[in-house]
Every structure is written in C-alpha cells, then in structure tokens.
Amino acid sequence: MAPASPAAPRTPAVENPLFEYVVRLGDDRLVLGHRVAEWCGHGPILEEDIALSNIALDLTGQAAALLALAGSIEGKGRDEDALAYFRDEPQFRNALLCELPKGDFGVTIVRQFFFDAYSLLLWDALAACTHEKLAALAAKSRKEDTYHLRHSAEWVRKLGDGTPESHERAQRAVDALWRFTGELFERDAIDDAVVSHGIVVDHAALAAKWRELVEGVLREATLTVPAEPGPRATGGRRGRHTEHLGHMLAEMQIVARSHPGATW
C-alpha cells in the first residue's frame, strides 16, 4: 500500500464540519510554524536562519488568518488568539508530521519539503473552490508557499547530493518521516461534509501529484524513495497526537495563559 493513498478513518460526528475543516488547515500551519521558528538564532548559516524565520512567519500569518476565519464560522466569539492559545492538545487538529520535533537540519528540511509540496497542491485546489473567503486565503498563501517549496526542494537536492554525511542524514530523515505523509491525504466525514460549502478536494489526485513531485526531487537528490511505507502514523486530525505536541504547546501557550488579555 502506498503511504499517500487516501483512506476513510472513522470520525465522530461533529457539530460544525466547516469550522473543523478550517481549524485543521490553521493548526497545520500554526504548529509547523512554531517548530520552524525554533531555528531562529540556531540556523546553520545566517541566510538559512533568516530564511527559516521568514517561512515560520508566513506559516504563522497564514494560521492567524485561517483561525480567524474558523472563529467567525464558529460564531462563539473565539478569535485566532483564543483558538491558538486556549485550546488543549486533544482539540488540536494538525497532522502529526507538523508536530514532530525539529530534529537536525535534515529532518527540518525534509519535513518542510514534504509539507510544502502538499500545501502548494492543496492551495491550488482550494483557490478554485467556491467558498469565497477560503479561496481568497488559498490564493494568497499559494504565492508564499511557492517560495517555501523552491527553498526546501533546493535544500533536499543539496543535502542528498552533497557530502556522504549530508546524504546519510537526509536519507535517514526521509525514511523516518515517510510514514507520516499518508495522513495528509486521508479523507474522512469532515471532507465529505464541506463539499456542500463548495470545498471540493480530490484527495486521490492530490496524493498522486504529490508523489510525482516528491519522488522526482528525491531522485534528483540521489535519495531513495522508501520501498515500504511502514505503519501509517495518523490521528492528529481527530485530536490524537504524539507526546511531542503537549510539550510544544506548553511553551507556545504559557505567556498567553499566564497573562490572559495582556497587550503589548
């Protein structure tokens, strides 16, 4: 079985599928943005430190706009800050790939490449959907993700086709992260329910395009596409996370929770 093939896991009935759908999009970018921001001041070279910080900023900005939209869809007075800082781990809906620790530079770059390729293709689909506000955010985010993907794909080539050590570390990252990519293309009851809001994404086509793009770059990078997908890591979309997310949220949320309502 290919890691990118869509599946239909059971999803408990939810009150507001559209809210749930937009929260998933927002949480992917909020959590990954925080992980990438952990490189600020720790990048291997100055240009890369700046690049990763810029990418983190874009992802966090996209998350803010998406969570603000989710809050307005929910209509219970929660804004983007309430959703980012005052939900606990089981309420987060990001894919597990996004929450894994940043690891070494190889892990960060390979994870980013896998996500950027998925994200750009997803925005392509969503920019054409008839939900006006989501389509607007998709068209905007797509432009930024174009830069992100070019950056991460170039680094995958440099690391894979670089020194024996960079190749070995990049391959290790590909092997370790591969089984987390299947979750990105899962289709469940939420995806079916938002079709009535004009949000139609062909998950199988998305997965196929992703594989073509990703495998092409990995080949150029002299990296090996894992033959076996391994046991699929999944659960994030339903609030079942790895042990890493709680620790990350503790750090991300402490200031807002210690000083609720503070402005500066």
Binding site: D58, Q62, A64, A65, A139, K140, E144, Y147, A153
Partner: protein
C-alpha cells in the same frame, strides 16, 4: 470636522503620507496596500490588504493610518482587511519602483503567471540598483523582511536587496 467633510481624493492624499515602516521611501498607497477608502456619517473606512500573510508591519501600518487621519481631524476610523484579490507587486507603479531603486532596493520584476512552479527555473537576474549591471546573482530568496530577497552584484561587488515579485 467629521470624516465626511473630506473628499475621497483628500483622504487618499492623507493615506499617501503613510510610509511603509520597513521601506520608508514608498507609501502604503503606492504599495497597493490601501484598496479603498470611504467616508460616511459614521467616519472613515479604510480597506487594506496584507502584503505577506505574516508581515509584522501590518499592525504598525494600521496604527499609522489612524494617526495620520486623526491629524486631519478624522477620529472615527474603521480598518477592514480583505484578502481578495491577493496583493501583488504588479500593483507598484513606475514612480514607486524608481524610488525603491534610488533607495538601494531592486524593484520587483513582473510576476510570472503559470501553474505549478517549476522548481529549478531560474528567472532573469535582477539589475543592480547601484551600478545597473545585470551580472548579479540571487543569494537567498529570504532577506531582512518578508518582501525582500538577497542578491550580490558581481560588477560592483555590492550585496543588495530585491523587492521580490509576488
């Protein structure tokens, strides 16, 4: 004086005095951030659009808009943010491009339309804002702010920023 006493042109003129906090030679009107301004009995509504999603200058720009309008006697200001159509560097006009160049920032080249980005495609080199040479090289697509890329000129040996096409 209420907001409605000023004409649309006058309001645009006031907003044209608000400079981008990170590129202080061009205004938020020249950048295309201001999409519309309307005045009615309740005050003035300014419609803006973000450049980059995560641009930290947007909050500062909102404050600067309020300040500039209050100096002209407009106290009731509403700021609306729209995301469509998505902001593009193609909205920056020729005069503003020349201001960028004179400030040492290569102006953005026209945005290429197309489907999925070609990963390996290399676009034409950005002309050096100092000596005009096209013998320049892109060093990083991410620079000191979200909207800039870093280049180096091989002719005059000067590193420079480019306002990157979006």
């Amino acid at each position: 004086m209420s907001g409605s006493a000023l004409t649309r042109d006058q309001l645009f003129e006031i907003l044209d005095s608000v400079k981008d906090p990170e590129v202080p030679v061009i205004s938020i009107v020249e950048l295309g951030i201001v999409r519309d301004v309307r005045s009615d009995a309740d005050g003035v509504t300014v419609t803006i659009t973000p450049t980059y999603s995560g641009c930290p200058a947007m909050r500062v720009i909102e404050d600067d808009i309020r300040t500039a309008l209050s100096w002209s006697g407009v106290q009731q200001v509403r700021i609306e943010t729209v995301h469509a159509p998505a902001w593009t560097t193609d909205w920056i006009g020729p005069a503003a491009r020349e201001k960028l160049r004179a400030f040492g920032i290569a102006p953005p080249v026209p945005v290429e339309q197309g489907g999925l980005v070609t990963l390996t495609r290399r676009r034409a080199p950005a002309p050096c804002p100092y000596c005009g040479s096209r013998d320049t090289e892109l060093k990083s697509e991410f620079g000191s702010t979200a909207c800039k890329a870093i280049h180096v000129c091989h002719a005059c040996r000067q590193p420079f920023d480019e306002f990157k096409p979006l």
